[in-house]
Amino acid sequence: MKITLNNNQEIFKQESLTVRELLKVKNFTFKMLVIKINGRLVNKTDYETAQIHEGDEVHVLHLISGG
Protein backbone atom coordinates (compact mmCIF):
# COMPACT_ATOMS: atom_id res chain seq x y z
CA MET A 1 0.00 0.00 0.00
CA LYS A 2 0.98 3.61 -0.50
CA ILE A 3 0.32 6.07 2.34
CA THR A 4 1.35 9.57 3.31
CA LEU A 5 3.40 9.41 6.50
CA ASN A 6 4.43 12.73 8.04
CA ASN A 7 3.90 14.43 4.67
CA ASN A 8 6.04 11.90 2.76
CA GLN A 9 4.75 9.26 0.36
CA GLU A 10 5.74 5.82 1.61
CA ILE A 11 5.16 2.36 0.18
CA PHE A 12 4.75 -0.75 2.33
CA LYS A 13 4.57 -4.33 1.10
CA GLN A 14 1.66 -5.03 3.47
CA GLU A 15 -1.88 -4.20 2.30
CA SER A 16 -2.71 -2.78 5.71
CA LEU A 17 -0.98 -2.25 9.05
CA THR A 18 -2.14 -1.61 12.56
CA VAL A 19 -0.64 1.45 14.24
CA ARG A 20 1.49 -0.83 16.42
CA GLU A 21 2.80 -2.64 13.32
CA LEU A 22 3.59 0.65 11.58
CA LEU A 23 5.59 1.84 14.61
CA LYS A 24 7.55 -1.44 14.56
CA VAL A 25 8.20 -1.40 10.81
CA LYS A 26 9.38 2.22 10.95
CA ASN A 27 11.37 1.60 14.14
CA PHE A 28 9.60 4.51 15.87
CA THR A 29 10.65 3.75 19.42
CA PHE A 30 9.65 6.95 21.19
CA LYS A 31 7.33 6.34 24.13
CA MET A 32 5.44 9.62 23.91
CA LEU A 33 3.53 9.91 20.67
CA VAL A 34 0.53 11.56 19.14
CA ILE A 35 -0.83 9.72 16.11
CA LYS A 36 -3.48 10.92 13.68
CA ILE A 37 -4.98 8.95 10.79
CA ASN A 38 -6.84 11.09 8.25
CA GLY A 39 -7.18 13.88 10.80
CA ARG A 40 -8.48 11.67 13.61
CA LEU A 41 -6.56 11.14 16.82
CA VAL A 42 -5.80 7.50 17.60
CA ASN A 43 -6.08 6.71 21.30
CA LYS A 44 -3.15 4.85 22.85
CA THR A 45 -5.46 1.96 23.74
CA ASP A 46 -6.32 1.51 20.04
CA TYR A 47 -2.78 1.09 18.67
CA GLU A 48 -3.27 -2.69 18.32
CA THR A 49 -6.56 -2.40 16.45
CA ALA A 50 -6.51 0.88 14.48
CA GLN A 51 -5.84 -0.01 10.82
CA ILE A 52 -3.91 1.98 8.23
CA HIS A 53 -4.97 1.42 4.61
CA GLU A 54 -4.01 2.48 1.08
CA GLY A 55 -4.22 6.23 0.62
CA ASP A 56 -4.37 7.11 4.32
CA GLU A 57 -2.71 10.23 5.65
CA VAL A 58 -0.84 9.40 8.85
CA HIS A 59 0.96 11.73 11.23
CA VAL A 60 3.24 10.40 13.96
CA LEU A 61 4.42 13.17 16.24
CA HIS A 62 7.30 12.41 18.63
CA LEU A 63 7.03 14.29 21.89
CA ILE A 64 10.29 15.30 23.54
CA SER A 65 10.82 17.03 26.86
CA GLY A 66 11.84 20.65 27.30
CA GLY A 67 10.10 23.90 27.95
Partner: protein, 195 residues
Protein backbone atom coordinates in the same frame (compact mmCIF):
# COMPACT_ATOMS: atom_id res chain seq x y z
CA UNK B 1 -1.45 45.09 6.98
CA UNK B 2 -2.57 46.66 10.26
CA UNK B 3 -1.28 49.51 12.39
CA UNK B 4 -0.28 48.63 15.94
CA UNK B 5 -3.41 50.44 17.18
CA UNK B 6 -5.58 48.20 14.96
CA UNK B 7 -3.68 45.10 16.10
CA UNK B 8 -4.23 46.01 19.76
CA UNK B 9 -7.90 46.72 19.14
CA UNK B 10 -8.47 43.32 17.51
CA UNK B 11 -6.43 41.46 20.12
CA UNK B 12 -8.27 43.15 22.97
CA UNK B 13 -11.26 40.87 22.29
CA UNK B 14 -9.18 37.68 22.26
CA UNK B 15 -8.46 35.11 24.94
CA UNK B 16 -5.41 32.84 24.96
CA UNK B 17 -4.89 29.87 27.29
CA UNK B 18 -1.34 29.02 28.33
CA UNK B 19 -0.72 25.62 29.90
CA UNK B 20 2.43 25.94 32.00
CA UNK B 21 4.31 29.03 33.19
CA UNK B 22 7.90 27.84 32.76
CA UNK B 23 10.35 28.75 30.01
CA UNK B 24 7.84 28.56 27.18
CA UNK B 25 4.76 29.79 29.03
CA UNK B 26 6.21 32.77 30.87
CA UNK B 27 7.96 34.19 27.80
CA UNK B 28 5.04 33.51 25.46
CA UNK B 29 2.63 35.15 27.91
CA UNK B 30 4.80 38.27 28.17
CA UNK B 31 5.00 38.58 24.36
CA UNK B 32 1.22 38.24 24.06
CA UNK B 33 0.70 40.74 26.88
CA UNK B 34 2.98 43.33 25.27
CA UNK B 35 0.89 43.37 22.09
CA UNK B 36 -2.37 43.66 24.01
CA UNK B 37 -4.01 40.23 23.98
CA UNK B 38 -7.24 40.89 25.90
CA UNK B 39 -7.25 37.94 28.28
CA UNK B 40 -4.53 35.46 29.21
CA UNK B 41 -5.55 32.34 31.12
CA UNK B 42 -2.33 31.06 32.73
CA UNK B 43 -1.89 27.88 34.71
CA UNK B 44 0.87 26.22 36.71
CA UNK B 45 1.27 24.59 40.13
CA UNK B 46 4.95 25.30 40.63
CA UNK B 47 7.02 27.92 42.44
CA UNK B 48 9.90 30.01 41.09
CA UNK B 49 13.33 28.52 41.82
CA UNK B 50 16.84 29.79 41.16
CA UNK B 51 17.31 27.27 38.33
CA UNK B 52 14.36 28.81 36.47
CA UNK B 53 16.10 32.16 36.07
CA UNK B 54 18.27 30.99 33.15
CA UNK B 55 15.24 31.16 30.86
CA UNK B 56 11.97 31.97 32.59
CA UNK B 57 10.42 35.42 32.91
CA UNK B 58 10.91 35.85 36.66
CA UNK B 59 13.20 37.87 38.87
CA UNK B 60 15.58 36.82 41.62
CA UNK B 61 13.43 38.44 44.30
CA UNK B 62 10.49 36.23 43.17
CA UNK B 63 12.22 32.95 44.12
CA UNK B 64 9.80 30.96 46.27
CA UNK B 65 6.66 32.65 44.91
CA UNK B 66 3.92 30.83 43.03
CA UNK B 67 4.68 31.09 39.33
CA UNK B 68 1.12 32.08 38.44
CA UNK B 69 1.21 34.93 40.96
CA UNK B 70 4.69 36.13 39.98
CA UNK B 71 3.88 36.01 36.26
CA UNK B 72 0.61 37.89 36.76
CA UNK B 73 2.52 40.64 38.57
CA UNK B 74 5.20 40.78 35.86
CA UNK B 75 2.65 40.90 33.02
CA UNK B 76 0.62 43.64 34.67
CA UNK B 77 3.77 45.70 35.28
CA UNK B 78 4.28 45.63 31.51
CA UNK B 79 0.67 45.99 30.42
CA UNK B 80 -1.94 46.76 33.09
CA UNK B 81 -4.69 47.06 30.45
CA UNK B 82 -5.19 43.31 29.86
CA UNK B 83 -6.84 40.65 32.00
CA UNK B 84 -4.81 37.84 33.49
CA UNK B 85 -6.67 34.85 34.93
CA UNK B 86 -4.21 32.74 36.95
CA UNK B 87 -4.95 29.16 37.97
CA UNK B 88 -2.58 27.79 40.59
CA UNK B 89 -3.17 24.09 39.96
CA UNK B 90 -1.85 21.00 38.25
CA UNK B 91 -3.37 20.56 34.82
CA UNK B 92 -4.99 17.15 34.35
CA UNK B 93 -7.28 15.64 31.69
CA UNK B 94 -10.18 16.33 34.05
CA UNK B 95 -9.71 20.12 34.27
CA UNK B 96 -8.42 21.08 30.81
CA UNK B 97 -11.85 21.68 29.27
CA UNK B 98 -12.95 23.80 32.21
CA UNK B 99 -9.79 25.89 32.13
CA UNK B 100 -9.49 26.53 28.41
CA UNK B 101 -12.96 26.25 26.83
CA UNK B 102 -13.72 29.69 25.43
CA UNK B 103 -10.11 30.42 24.51
CA UNK B 104 -9.38 31.40 20.91
CA UNK B 105 -6.01 29.64 21.03
CA UNK B 106 -4.25 27.32 23.51
CA UNK B 107 -0.46 27.34 23.97
CA UNK B 108 1.18 24.15 25.26
CA UNK B 109 4.06 25.20 27.48
CA UNK B 110 4.91 22.14 29.54
CA UNK B 111 8.34 20.72 30.22
CA UNK B 112 7.88 16.94 30.25
CA UNK B 113 6.90 14.93 27.19
CA UNK B 114 4.29 12.98 29.21
CA UNK B 115 2.48 16.22 30.00
CA UNK B 116 2.72 17.42 26.41
CA UNK B 117 1.15 14.17 25.24
CA UNK B 118 -1.63 14.40 27.85
CA UNK B 119 -2.51 17.97 26.89
CA UNK B 120 -2.45 17.35 23.14
CA UNK B 121 -4.61 14.22 23.44
CA UNK B 122 -7.12 15.95 25.68
CA UNK B 123 -7.39 19.14 23.63
CA UNK B 124 -7.68 17.26 20.32
CA UNK B 125 -10.43 15.12 21.86
CA UNK B 126 -12.39 17.58 23.98
CA UNK B 127 -11.68 20.98 22.39
CA UNK B 128 -10.89 20.04 18.77
CA UNK B 129 -11.97 23.37 17.29
CA UNK B 130 -9.43 25.40 19.31
CA UNK B 131 -6.00 25.76 17.65
CA UNK B 132 -3.24 24.27 19.84
CA UNK B 133 0.35 25.50 19.57
CA UNK B 134 2.97 23.15 21.03
CA UNK B 135 6.67 23.73 21.73
CA UNK B 136 8.79 20.75 20.76
CA UNK B 137 12.58 20.67 20.97
CA UNK B 138 14.55 23.73 22.08
CA UNK B 139 17.36 22.51 24.35
CA UNK B 140 20.97 23.58 23.93
CA UNK B 141 22.32 26.56 22.00
CA UNK B 142 23.14 27.62 18.46
CA UNK B 143 21.48 25.78 15.56
CA UNK B 144 19.13 28.63 14.70
CA UNK B 145 18.17 27.00 11.42
CA UNK B 146 16.87 23.85 13.09
CA UNK B 147 13.91 25.68 14.65
CA UNK B 148 10.81 25.65 12.49
CA UNK B 149 7.05 25.73 12.60
CA UNK B 150 4.64 23.33 10.93
CA UNK B 151 0.98 22.49 11.07
CA UNK B 152 -1.05 19.27 11.33
CA UNK B 153 -4.71 20.28 11.02
CA UNK B 154 -5.43 22.45 14.08
CA UNK B 155 -2.15 21.49 15.78
CA UNK B 156 0.83 23.81 15.30
CA UNK B 157 4.33 22.60 16.19
CA UNK B 158 7.17 25.02 16.98
CA UNK B 159 10.72 23.87 17.73
CA UNK B 160 13.44 21.69 16.30
CA UNK B 161 11.63 18.40 17.13
CA UNK B 162 15.07 16.92 17.90
CA UNK B 163 16.86 18.19 20.98
CA UNK B 164 15.61 16.58 24.17
CA UNK B 165 16.69 18.11 27.45
CA UNK B 166 19.30 16.26 29.49
CA UNK B 167 22.29 16.92 31.77
CA UNK B 168 24.43 17.90 28.75
CA UNK B 169 21.59 19.57 26.90
CA UNK B 170 19.94 22.09 29.22
CA UNK B 171 17.11 24.35 28.18
CA UNK B 172 18.53 27.90 28.28
CA UNK B 173 17.27 31.36 27.47
CA UNK B 174 18.02 31.99 23.80
CA UNK B 175 16.45 28.92 22.18
CA UNK B 176 13.63 28.65 24.73
CA UNK B 177 12.93 32.32 24.05
CA UNK B 178 12.96 31.68 20.30
CA UNK B 179 10.43 28.87 20.50
CA UNK B 180 8.17 30.62 23.02
CA UNK B 181 8.10 33.76 20.87
CA UNK B 182 7.48 31.63 17.79
CA UNK B 183 4.47 30.18 19.61
CA UNK B 184 3.28 33.74 20.38
CA UNK B 185 3.82 34.66 16.74
CA UNK B 186 1.72 31.74 15.52
CA UNK B 187 -0.97 32.72 18.03
CA UNK B 188 -1.04 36.24 16.58
CA UNK B 189 -1.26 34.89 13.06
CA UNK B 190 -4.32 32.87 14.06
CA UNK B 191 -5.93 35.61 16.15
CA UNK B 192 -5.49 38.37 13.59
CA UNK B 193 -6.65 36.18 10.70
CA UNK B 194 -9.87 35.14 12.42
CA UNK B 195 -11.17 38.64 13.16
Amino acid sequence: MLTFEEIKERLSRKRVGIAGCGGLGSNCAVALARVGTGTLVISDFDIVTESNLNRQYYFRDQIGQKKTLALTVNILRINPFINVIPHDLKITPANISGLFAGCDVIVEAFDRSEEKEMLIETVLTELPSIPLIVGLGMAGWGMNDSIHCRRIDNLYICGDEQTEIGPDMPPIAPRVGMVSNMQANVALEILLAKS
